[in-house]
Subunit: 357 residues, 2 copies
């Protein structure tokens, strides 16, 4: 591993200048500081302070996920992480990492400059700048719901999507539903892809026909329901599995707009078990992701990576939460469903906005 | 959770008798002790001692895996587990769990009777009695290389087989090999199934034809090579991927028997990176499973389960270890390979013996 001397030799400058650059002293130019930092990252430098257990400083980087209040997905992820970090006396900083910030500076440089010896990234997408850089990072990094191949310094934590979707389909199949629709999350996301595969496989295991026209990708917002639910209903779907509770809340509202009832006419299942799911009318049957435990597990994974235990994947169990949004298949509702959507025109195309859970 | 009083009430006996049964006192009959233990297990009883962190006592149960010497697969798994356990002041007992022992007593009863608050199971197969009971156990349990669906108390730790096999195929494809054979481990094992899927997918990703006749299941012993290698060679395989280093050692010996050279005529890749792999002639290129880290991760997972963090899967990265048993595809060898096996009769069918790595 490179030392301060190596960096000084490479740049042909004094060791004291390198030290100033690394430690944020004010009496060198910004350009010089940047050069020192970039070279340090390139040469794989890690300061002694960052390698010392007692003073470990890590961060949670948040992009495109709400976490300020207890009813939002990110809140408990952060609580769980901080709980476990406190036990190890690690110092945690939560930082919103917008796209601009990612464009200005490289991930490794940012981490080195701020003295973080590890990070937990939540809400990021595979195409984000910093995530793209993760295939080469040397900073121990845990990604929520995304996987980076071939880099020992990066691990993935998440809920077993496969198990979760399987529980949803098994429940609906057990209630006699055959025409089951799936309103998935954002396209080009690893988790959406996993859930799609799980949906197809679980339908087949239950000997139910998989219709491509009953599978759509939305975004993690209630609004996406209005673009897809009318089509599902037209095709005779009697149950709709949603990739998040927020999507499910939109689906329930949309179903009601057509004069249909949940669950008597249409059964709906969510994903996440956010606090909102218990307050919906009817209370939502859903697949729980235990966010406190996800946060705790992220810290545990990061601890492994920091100690060179190359964990690549850590999955938590999904939990089935039965409430009141599903009921047995009702053959007499099928005609009602189809006729209720007949009068309505085709919906518009997909929206442009995108948020992730 | 049931208390000693609940057990006494259910059985209609004195609390002191229940206490004697649970604590192994000698002044009650064996039948009574068994009845107390079975009832305690059935009612989900866990003693205070088992729930107290400081005195935690756990075990490693070993079935069908060698672990006595440093060159065997299980050795470092146990070392890694004990290393992390020592840091938490957990007491670890290693117990060979033969089939007879599993037939005599139920898993949960055994654990309760011996005061173990968790276990790490290595070398077990899905059809073993105690593994079959794991879908209902309430004892925090970590399984190496096997997965139990639907029970929050059981987790799976292993190396990412998919990544490992992919590395092997990518390497061979990069060397120009097209006819790549796969000698997998035992059939009906989760890991063998994962590796099979990985083989097929990686071949397809490299635009190579997958031939069913070049895929065989053996056992984790060198001897299985002689049943399959001649067939592979007859069909023009120029590279053989093996599910363990022991299998690879048998494959190299078998290839040499036909007057062929490794790697000039046939390339061979192992799996595991046991100490033997560096001593083979030629030294074996292989996919490393870091057994110390697997052991450490098993303890970490068990710690999670004990604290009701329902981790279901924890996967470590596979590592590609390049030595000398692979070389670039040699077109002039193909004729030599085929003619060298021509004189030899068809091999016998599969052997009956079975051991696992």
């Amino acid at each position: 591993m490179a030392t301060i001397k190596d960096i000084a030799a490479k740049l042909g400058i004094a060791v004291s200048t390198v030290s100033k650059g690394l430690n944020g002293a004010s009496d060198i130019s910004d350009d010089m500081r940047q050069l020192v930092l970039d070279t340090a990252v390139e040469m794989g430098y890690a300061s002694k302070k960052m390698k010392t257990l007692k003073s470990r400083k890590v961060c949670i980087l948040v992009e495109n996920m709400d976490y300020e209040s207890i009813d939002q997905f990110g809140y408990e992820l952060i609580v769980g992480f901080k709980l476990s970090a406190a036990r190890k006396h690690w110092d945690v900083t939560v930082i919103p990492a917008n796209l601009n910030m990612q464009a200005i500076e490289k991930y490794d440089t940012y981490m080195l400059k701020n003295g973080f010896s590890g990070a937990f990234l939540i809400g990021f997408a595979l195409h984000d700048d910093w995530v793209k850089q993760l295939s080469k990072t040397t900073v121990p990094t845990v990604l929520f719901d995304n996987y980076i191949a071939g880099n020992n310094h990066v691990g993935y934590v998440g809920t077993d999507s496969f198990e979760g979707i399987q529980m949803a389909i098994d429940h609906l199949a057990g209630l006699g539903h055959k025409q089951i629709a799936f309103l998935n999350g954002s396209k080009n996301s690893m988790v959406s892809e996993q859930r799609h595969q799980a949906f197809v496989q679980s339908m087949e295991e239950n000997k139910l026909e998989v219709k491509d026209s009953l599978i759509e990708y939305g975004y993690y917002v209630p609004d996406c329901a209005k673009y897809h639910v009318p089509k599902f209903l037209k095709q005779g779907a009697t149950a709709i599995v949603c990739a998040s509770d927020l999507i499910a809340s939109g689906v329930i509202a949309e179903v009601k707009k057509f004069g249909l009832r949940v669950p008597e006419d249409i059964s709906v299942i969510g994903f996440d078990d956010l606090p909102i799911s218990n307050q919906l009318e009817p209370p939502l049957t859903t697949i729980r992701q235990d966010r406190i435990d996800l946060g705790k597990s992220a810290l545990l994974l990061l601890d492994g990576l920091v100690h060179n235990v190359t964990i690549s994947k850590l999955l938590l169990r999904a939990k089935f939460i039965k409430r009141e949004s599903c009921s047995t298949y009702n053959p007499s509702a099928v005609k009602k469903i189809k006729s209720s959507v007949k009068k309505v025109d085709d919906p518009k195309d997909n929206p442009d906005s995108e948020t992730e859970s």
